[in-house]
Point group: C2
Chain length 123, copies 2
């Protein structure tokens, strides 16, 4: 349990990666989770250096919860785990794309993705 994201350079994340990350003022990067075979965009979470390190080394997607202020392994309570297939950093170094194999629903509402329920009207 932690109350703040890890400061850059204080985790076991490889220094070559640490140097490329451009974080928010809170020390976080948005991480897009995508189903690796269907291409579905499942959800967006946030990672600090430690969450990214755990995601790269454990095979399970780990996020930083901004509301609960703690690390959160997707599926630990719901069983709806995300097995990591690949992780890519974008051209600016400020966004992650995590391709995963999602068990069951990605959304806490029970929907497959967090984007299923609220399509906005185009004018």
């Amino acid at each position: 349990m932690s109350s703040t994201p890890a400061a850059p350079g204080t985790t076991a994340l490889a220094p070559a990666i640490v140097a490329r990350l451009k974080r928010t003022e809170d020390g976080l990067l948005p991480a897009i989770a995508q189903q690796y075979d269907t291409g579905e965009v499942l959800m967006l979470g946030w990672m600090d250096d430690e969450a990214l390190h755990r995601t790269l080394t454990t095979g399970r997607c780990t996020y930083w919860s901004r509301s609960r202020r703690e690390y959160w392994v997707k599926g630990d309570t719901s069983g709806h785990v995300q097995q990591v297939k690949s992780v890519a950093l974008d051209c600016d170094g400020d966004t992650l794309l995590v391709r995963v194999d999602q068990t069951g629903a990605a959304c806490h509402t029970g929907d497959r993705t967090c984007f299923d329920a609220d399509v906005l009207p185009l004018a």
Copy 2:
């Protein structure tokens, strides 16, 4: 040209949408752009209320540039436009998924997506 994102409630964005958005302290939401037919995740940009309003009403993806501090219609300088197919708000109201038809490269490097070049090693 503007130097700060629009304050909530000061734009023509529909009040029913305004009330559902949960913005960063800067007044922004991350917006994931996805190619509507192939499922490719192209890039992540940022939208304030006004950029979302323009995206919903003009058919062209409009972002807020955090570095240039101005609105930015994707493709206006490069020709690599994003025609909007649908816009969805996630379950928490804090992330947008914009399905688009991307002309040419989405990335300023010339890559098709901003996530093509830097795949991180899994341990």
